[in-house]
């Protein structure tokens, strides 16, 4: 899922400067699961902002709404009515939600309340950890399901570098060296010989370096148009 974290309250407050009414808008998908921007977090942030406003003696009308997804038009449009009555929408969706709400709702300002961090998994109670770099051309068949693009601090394809020690990355002893993990996995599968091969330079144009990505599916469009699919 997409993992995000709430911005510091001071920063949020600063970005709302001049607003007299704000709709705090949650998203019911990824950020609900990673407990950054679901209905519950909307409630918490809204009351914190109300309290702050009261303490500062400023006028701030805070409303709340959470939709199923901020990355789908039909749900984002649900924010239109409430949002248009406000000076701004404070989106607790990921960066996609902020951008898409801006695009769909047009007349109202959309301000981010979260920092969108990465694609990650819930690896422990309350812990999310990055697992994919979204590079557009998956190479983990060569590394037995473990991604060095996302998880090596240097995105090295022929690791480990000279900084790997006792299974940890040179950057931080709290970070596992992913190339140690790859090595151990190859070893346990009896495939260490594969690591003798040099992985070729990556085609970064498949990902963000190729410019903003778009993908289209004719079959999905056909379903949307109500045509029968095979």
């Amino acid at each position: 899922m997409i993992v995000a974290e709430r911005k510091p309250l001071d920063e949020i407050q600063q970005s709302l400067e001049g607003c007299k009414s704000v709709l705090v808008a949650g998203c019911g998908t990824c950020v609900t699961v990673c407990m950054a921007g679901g209905e519950k977090e909307v409630g918490v942030l809204a009351s914190m902002l109300r309290m702050r406003a009261k303490m500062d003696g400023t006028e701030l009308d805070i409303r709340e709404a959470t939709v199923q997804r901020q990355c789908d038009r039909e749900y984002v449009e649900q924010l239109a009515e409430l949002g248009e009555e406000c000076d701004a929408i404070l989106s607790m969706g990921c960066g996609v939600g902020v951008n898409y709400a801006t695009e769909v709702l047009k007349t109202v300002r959309v301000i981010p309340a979260l920092n969108t961090r990465f694609y990650g998994a819930n690896v422990d109670e309350g812990v999310w950890s990055e697992r994919c770099g979204g590079c557009g051309e998956c190479i983990v068949a060569s590394t037995e399901g473990i991604c060095p693009i996302a998880r090596c601090s240097k995105s090295i394809l022929n690791g480990p570098c000279g900084g790997s020690q006792d299974g940890t990355c040179e950057v931080d002893p709290e970070i596992a060296c992913v190339w140690q993990l790859i090595y151990d996995r190859m070893d346990s599968l009896g495939r260490l010989d594969k690591l003798e091969e040099i992985l070729a330079p990556k085609d970064w144009s498949k990902g963000r370096d190729g410019g903003p990505g778009t993908t289209s599916r004719e079959d999905a469009a056909a379903i949307d148009r109500g045509e029968a699919s095979e």
Binding site: K154, I156, L157, G159, Q180, I198
Partner: protein, 323 residues
Amino acid sequence: MDMKSGSNLEKMLAAGHFAVTAELGPPKSADAKAVSKKCRYLKGIVEAANITDNQTAIVRMSSIAGGVLALKRGVEPVVQMTCRDRNRLAMQSDILGAHALGVRNLLCLSGDHQKFGNHPTAKNVFDIDSIQLIQMVKEMRDDRLFMCGEEIRNTPKAPIVEPRMFIGAAANPFADPFAFRVVRLAKKVEAGADFIQTQCIYDMDRFREWMRQVVDRGLHERTAILAGVTPLKSAGMARYMRDNVPGLSVPDSVVERIAGAKKGSDEGIAFCVEQIEELKEMEGIAGVHLMAIEWEQKVEQILEATGLLPRPKVEADEAPEEG
């Protein structure tokens, strides 16, 4: 066979001499004199000196500029190039420029992560990794092609003028997983590394074990292995290296030896001299890479004490054919 690059270092190694390289860190300023000063300590006593590339991710004078200044001062540079700061375009253009300015040795590195340096909020590049960089430099030299497959010529009618580098790479026998270190070296050799400089050695037992694996695989016959040594200036430095430098192994016995000596710096030099004596005899070792960090003035003394001075002279036509 013709020389690959014709560098002094290449000729020395091809002639079978035990080679000596040193390290010359460029200044954290635009001060050309700082390079000249270090060159005075190194000129004529080493085959070449590595010019570091924003080492430990701290901004310094560029390694190519530093290398050209060294060249003018009579010290052959090994220009270091990391994958941290440049993508494949910038690397190839820098390699063309370096060759045009007379550089003939290039050491290909991943580079320390920017977190360690003075711009920790920088975006890193890592478009290609060090092994892919070695491959690219070799293809530019031997196939006379850019990485994209185009010929290295200005126009379709212009002559091909390819950059000819003697290609170096680093190896760290002290990083983990230990069993893989020799495999990674093999990958670098396969990619085209003509010479290897190792991480500085303090743990000779582990180094010896690694070299045994290197020799078993015959890698020392395909690449020239220069063993890295760094004289310790003090017990404090030894402790710092032991506790704070990732991928380095400093046994407690070494720290204790320096700490217990009357003068730590003298003991550090004595230890370094002993190491070089041992390395000279070790199977598969083609030379030493003496990294006297901000202590270039001691290089001569250390080499003198190990009988490595004066350096033998080689000319292109004296170098034997490679068999």
